[in-house]
Symmetry: C2
Subunit: 191 residues, 2 copies
């Protein structure tokens, strides 16, 4: 009898055994797939605000894995009337997009048994601020386009590595949201 010893399930820092176990749980209990993420924001002064990020609903329960909340500031540079207290919101959107595609491609590579040695990316967004400053409605408020360039290295042929980047675009939550949009409902309570 031959004993087959499986290689370690940790690949690229992802516990693939945990991933496959989670997928099995979600197949059996699809209601566990419902997540609700949350951010609380408070204006500080001028262009400066601060978000607190702590709990979320997911896997059938309120998550309690974070002992302390994350605190993340946003502001603007002087040319947009702030004092560089933090990155600006449009830069955070690019960060969210870059990070989500990166995490998604690492999941994808791990599932395909590819060991990655480097993943870097540069994201750029073009904006004409005549839109958001209310000077000319011919210009939209946000970016007209976003360009992202990944450099990816690992123990697979270049074609397979490029396919992993391609596949990440089909599964990334933030890529979907930024590419396709999401309905946003805003309520205001004034006192």
């Amino acid at each position: 009898m031959t004993t087959i010893i499986s290689s370690t399930p940790i690949r690229n820092g992802i516990d693939t055994a945990q991933v496959y176990g989670t997928l099995d749980v979600l197949r059996a209990q699809p209601e566990a797939a419902r997540f609700e993420f949350r951010v609380r924001n408070r204006w500080i002064d001028g262009t400066h605000s601060r978000s607190t990020i702590h709990g979320f609903w997911g896997a059938g329960a309120e998550d309690v894995s974070r002992a302390e909340p994350f605190v993340v500031d946003a502001s603007e540079p002087p040319v947009l009337f702030g004092q560089n207290e933090a990155p600006n919101p449009a830069e955070y959107l690019l960060h969210a997009l870059a990070a989500c595609l990166t995490t998604t491609l690492v999941y994808s590579a791990s599932a395909r048994k590819v060991r990655l040695t480097e993943v870097t990316s540069v994201f750029e967004g073009d904006m004409d601020v005549r839109g958001c400053l209310g000077l000319d409605d011919a210009y939209r408020n946000g970016f007209t386009q976003i360009r992202g360039t990944f450099t990816i290295k690992g123990d697979a042929p270049a074609e397979k590595l490029r396919a992993i980047v391609e596949n990440a675009q089909k599964r990334s939550a933030v890529f979907d949201m930024v590419s396709n949009g999401v309905p946003v409902a805003i309520t205001a309570i004034a006192e």
Copy 2:
């Protein structure tokens, strides 16, 4: 002859004289309205990546106001195969949205001579992770919807304060991008 001394142009931490001066410059030199924001991201391990945010193009020149880059991490909680090294990308998208609407409504209030005393908000996004985990294509990868609730206080009637929140949705760059989507072009370089 009566001398009219204007009140201080600083309102809610926004230098409204600078704002109006900038609008005049952009009317005279519309090419100065072109901005390009950038983020560089590097995968660290597992779900963990790190963005560096430094220069940008705007107001007709490469911005040099930031002596040091901002460094912002992203990761995932254990239930999504990370170790809570940082907020996750979907939470950063909510942060970007909350912060952009907040800054935009502070600009708007300042232009309307309203002094704000408090602006807080809670943002929530609903996701069924069967989409992004590749279990069921009936579910999209990103949020199906986002809800934001602002509490706003200041020296104006409740109706005017609510109108300021309403107006922010017409001018916020990130609200536009998240609501309507942006074309994203991804390139992969594999070595």
